[in-house]
């Protein structure tokens, strides 16, 4: 599914990843844990095909991360909830989800159930995203990811900015996705909650993944 070996990735002149390893099996839910600046987001972005490898090797869903073509294929195949929600403030919730799901070559029919699942199908659907609270915005971004029906979900801090109900919602989505055969890689500062959710924890320290850190 995912196999990253000794990956070194640069952010400008800074080696955000300095030799990270990651192996994900199909259907696994794995939590990336570590302090701020450890490289969790970079590892997620690497798996999404957004940044190149300087050293090491990477394979995601059969695509080679070292090549441009492989990264491009990867980007089209994964569902990433990034730090930025990538929503257009001037458009309504529904317009945003519909635009991104078309752009992602997802099915139009999936939009309505996704909105409903994330509690956006009532009044909120026609509210411009700029007028939403942080949590509502996060839920809209999640609806876009849900519509993608990706085989690999990459969630960067999906719990951040959400209330308890929202966090339960995220956990439910992750469990359902895993049950449907998808692989989920997420980072979170809600350690207790995320540890319950994940099958496995990968610790990230200073851009590396020391083997001793894992527990289940």
């Amino acid at each position: 599914m995912v196999s990253v070996r000794d990956a070194v990735c640069l952010l400008g002149n800074f080696p955000a990843l300095a030799g990270a390893d990651l192996e994900l099996e199909s259907g696994e839910v794995v939590l990336l844990e570590g302090p701020n600046g450890a490289g969790k987001s970079t590892l997620l972005r690497l798996c999404a095909g957004l940044i190149g490898l300087r050293q090491g090797s990477g394979d995601v869903l059969g695509n080679d991360l070292a090549t441009r073509g492989g990264r491009q294929q990867t980007r089209r195949a994964v569902g990433l909830l990034a730090h930025h929600s990538a929503l257009y403030g001037e458009l309504t919730v529904e317009e945003n989800v519909r635009f991104w799901s078309r752009a992602n070559r997802a099915f139009d029919a999936d939009v309505e159930p996704a909105l409903e699942r994330l509690g956006l199908s009532d009044r909120l659907r026609s509210v411009p995203v700029a007028a939403l609270s942080a949590g509502q915005r996060r839920r809209t971004a999640l609806a876009v990811v849900v519509c993608r029906r990706a085989r690999l979900w990459l969630l960067d801090e999906p719990h951040a900015g959400l209330d308890a109900a929202g966090r339960d919602l995220v956990d439910g989505l992750v469990r359902d996705a895993a049950a449907a055969g998808a692989t989920v890689l997420l980072s979170s500062h809600e350690i207790d909650r995320a540890t319950d959710l994940a099958h496995r924890v990968v610790r990230v320290v200073a851009g590396q993944t020391p083997v001793s850190g894992g527990h289940s």
């Binding site: 080696p15 200073a206 851009g207």
Partner: protein, 251 residues
Amino acid sequence: MSPPTSTGPAATPTGSKLTRVLGSLSLAFLAIFLLFGLMLSPPEVSQREAVRLFYIHVPSAVIALYLAFGLTAVGSVVYLRKRSTFWDLLAWSAAEIGVLFCAFTLVTGMLWGRPTWGVFWKWDPRLTSTAISFVLFIGYLAVRQLDLTPEARSSRAAVLGIIGFLNTIVVRFSVSWWQSLHQGTTLNPVDTQMDGLHLLSFFLGFATLALVFSWLLVHRFRVAWLAHQAGEAGLDRALAERRAEATGRTV
């Protein structure tokens, strides 16, 4: 490939046999050119003494717009196809020196225009199009400094290098066309009949500037290469530091 010490203790790191040959040739040609350009060549009928500026004005323009920016375009194409650092840095080096020669073209053009036309600036096609391309390639140098990853800087600069060169040709063509509508026959250096010593001085000026251009290009490329390598070495150090961070030790 030989160790740097082979270039001798006094030599600069970017110097080599090649640059020494190019450098000596440049200096020799410069001396001969100055002799002919400033002394032996007689004043021309219509341009008078200003013809001496023309000996460096036209070569600078041709070298900047076609040789330097053309080289930038070629280097950019090869970089985009092969991702070769060599061609990327060569394109950059040629653009920087091209901008310098563009500036010389503008200065000598204006200094030539004042005594010949009576004004510093006339909407002469060569001058006008050089000014436009000058700004465009200053933009290229700005793109090389963008706050993006080195790969992004290089590939975006390469796109601009190719389009900028094509655009330079379109600018030159359209400005000439525009001018041909407005003015009949103003004094244009290329139209004037030159013979004997004028022609010889002109070719000497061309050869001198071309030699100086190639000497500068080799040095500029090597500076770029050293800067690239220094950056790589810096990254290796940063990587070692980052690795040591994990174990709590410092390097």
